[in-house]
Amino acid sequence: MTSHALKNAAAAKMSAQAAPVRRKPGALARAADTMVGRGLIQALAVAAFFAAWEVAVRAGWLTEFLVGAPTGIWRVFAAAMADGSLPVDTWYTLIEAILGFVIGTALGSLAGLGLWYSVFIARLVEPFIVAINSVPKIALAPIIILWFGTGFISKVALAVSLTALVALIAAYQAARDADPDLQALLASMGATKNRIFRSVIVPSTLPAIIGMFRINIGFALVGAVVGEFISSQRGLGHLIYTASSLYDLNTVWVGLFVLMFVGFVLYHLIDFAERRILPWRQVSTAGQVQV
C-alpha cells in the first residue's frame, strides 16, 4: 500500500467519525413521546419510587418511625377520608388560600396598575413599598394572629399579606414597561388617559399579571399553612403540625401529599385560565426547532 493510499484511508476513517450522525428516533422513542407514553413513564417512575420506599422500610434499611411507609400512609389516608376529617381539613386550607390569593392579588394588582396614573405618587410611595416588601411576611404571622384571632380570618389575612405586595410590584412594573409608542399612538388619535389605561395598559400587563398568579398561588398556600402551624383547630397545616409533634409520620405525609395535589390543581387552573384569556400569546410548537 502506498503512503498516499494510507493517507486516504485515514482521512476516510476520520471523516466517518467526525460526520454528525443524526439517527431518526426509533419506533419505541416515538411511541414514548406521546401523551399516553409520557403519562405511562411518569406513573411508572412514581410507582417505582413508592415500591423502593416500602421495600426499604420492610427490609429495615429505613426506620418507619422516622420516614413512614407507603402502605401506612395509604391506611391513614383511607381512614381520614372515611371519617370525613381529611376532606374538611383540605377544604379549610383550600378556602383560606384561595380567599387570600384572590383578595391579596386583586388589591395588589389594582394598586400597582393605579400607580401608572401618577408618576408623582408612584415615586413618592416607592421607598415605602420596598421597605414593607423587605420584611419577611412570615414574621408578621404572630401579630396577624393577635389581630385577627386564631380562626379562619387570620389565615386569610396572612395569605393576603404574602400575596398583595408581590402583585403590586409585578403589576406596577408591567404597567411601567407598557410600550410608550402604543400609548402615543392612542394619544394622537385623541384618546383620554382612561382610554389608554383600558386599551393599552390593562391588556399589555395581563401576561405579567397572570404569570404572577402562579407565584402567588404558592404564596397563598404558604400563608394558610403557616397560619395553621401557629394556631388552629383545622386545616392541612394543623394536621401536619399536630401529627409531627406525635411522631406520626404517615399522617404528616398524607397532609403533604394532599397539599401537593391542591397546589398542582390550582396551578393548572391558572394555566387553563391563561390560555382562555391570552389567546394571542399561544404559540404552536409545531414549528419549534429540534436541537
Binding site: L182, L186, S188, S199
Partner: protein, 261 residues
C-alpha cells in the same frame, strides 16, 4: 395652476429637551407650510429632530415657542385629527387584524356595527380579506405595515403623519407599499407628511421636500419635485430623478464622490 391653499402652517416652532448640562435645543424656529393635498417629505441629518417635529404636529409634545395654524386657525396641536404611522407597525398584539383596524373608529365613538362594516370594506380594498381574525404576529412584515396603513386611513384624518413607515421592510415590499400609499392618498384626497432618511423615497413620493439642517434645527431648503410619474417605480425611472437626488444629497452634505487626497 392656482396658488395652493395652505392647510397647516408652522411658524417659528422651538423646542428643547432637558439634558445633563441644561436644556438642549432641538428645534430652533422651524417654519414651513403644508398645502391642502400636499405630499411633503421631511429629510435631514440623523438626530436632527424629525420625530420631534412630528410629535409637535400630532400634539404629543408642546412646543416651547412658535405657533401652529390649521386652515387659518391657531391650534395647540392636531390630536385626534392626524393619522400617525411609524417604522414599528404598532399593531396591538392582543387584537386581531380586524380589531386593530377598528381601533381608530372606536376612539371616534363610531357605533360597533358601522365600524365593523367599514373595517371589513377597507380590508377587502387593500387585499387583506381572509386575515380578519389573524393576530399580528402571524403576519409578514409587509402585511402588518399594510394593516397599520389601513388603520391610519380608516380614521379619515386631515393629515397623515408617516415616520419612516417603510424603512424596516425589504425593498420589493417597500416599493409595493409606496404604491399602495400613493394610490390611497389619491383616492382619499389626503395630505401626507413623510419623515424619512431615505432621499430616494422622498424624491419618488413627494410633491415637495423640506430639508432640515443640523441641531438645533431650522429649515435649510424646500424643493419642489416636478416628476410627472405618480408611481414609485415610474418616478425612479424618470430622467430628472437623478438630478433631484443629487441636489438633495448636496443639501445634506453627503459626500457623493470619494475625495482625492
Amino acid at each position: 395652476m392656482t396658488a395652493p391653499k395652505v392647510q397647516l402652517s408652522l411658524r417659528g416652532i422651538r423646542k428643547s429637551f432637558p439634558g445633563k448640562a441644561g436644556p438642549v435645543p432641538v428645534l430652533d424656529g422651524l417654519t414651513f407650510d403644508i398645502y391642502e393635498r400636499d405630499f411633503v417629505s421631511i429629510i435631514g441629518p440623523s438626530g436632527c429632530g424629525k420625530t420631534t417635529v412630528f410629535n409637535v404636529i400630532a400634539g404629543l409634545l408642546e412646543p416651547d415657542g412658535g405657533t401652529m395654524m390649521f386652515r387659518g386657525e391657531i391650534v395647540p396641536g392636531l390630536r385626534g385629527r392626524v393619522g400617525y404611522m411609524m417604522q414599528k407597525d404598532l399593531l396591538f398584539p392582543w387584537r386581531t387584524v380586524l380589531q386593530n383596524v377598528m381601533l381608530g373608529l372606536e376612539m371616534k365613538g363610531v357605533a360597533q356595527g358601522e365600524a365593523l362594516d367599514t373595517a371589513r370594506e377597507y380590508l377587502s380594498t387593500f387585499g387583506l380579506s381572509g386575515f380578519e381574525n389573524a393576530y399580528p404576529k402571524t403576519l409578514s412584515g409587509g402585511m402588518r405595515q399594510r394593516t397599520a396603513l389601513i388603520r391610519t386611513l380608516i380614521m379619515d384624518p386631515d393629515i397623515l403623519l408617516l415616520d419612516e413607515p417603510f424603512s424596516a421592510l425589504d425593498y420589493q415590499t417597500r416599493l409595493y407599499l409606496e404604491g399602495v400609499l400613493l394610490d390611497a392618498v389619491e383616492t382619499f384626497n389626503k395630505t401626507v407628511v413623510l419623515v424619512t432618511h431615505d432621499i430616494d423615497e422622498a424624491v419618488a413620493l413627494s410633491k415637495r421636500v423640506v430639508v432640515l439642517g443640523n441641531r438645533p434645527t431650522k429649515v435649510k431648503a424646500v424643493h419642489d419635485i416636478g416628476l410627472d410619474a405618480r408611481s414609485p417605480v415610474g418616478a425612479r425611472s424618470d430622467p430628472r430623478f437623478a438630478e433631484y437626488f443629487h441636489t438633495l444629497c448636496g443639501e445634506l452634505d453627503i459626500q457623493t464622490r470619494a475625495r482625492a487626497a
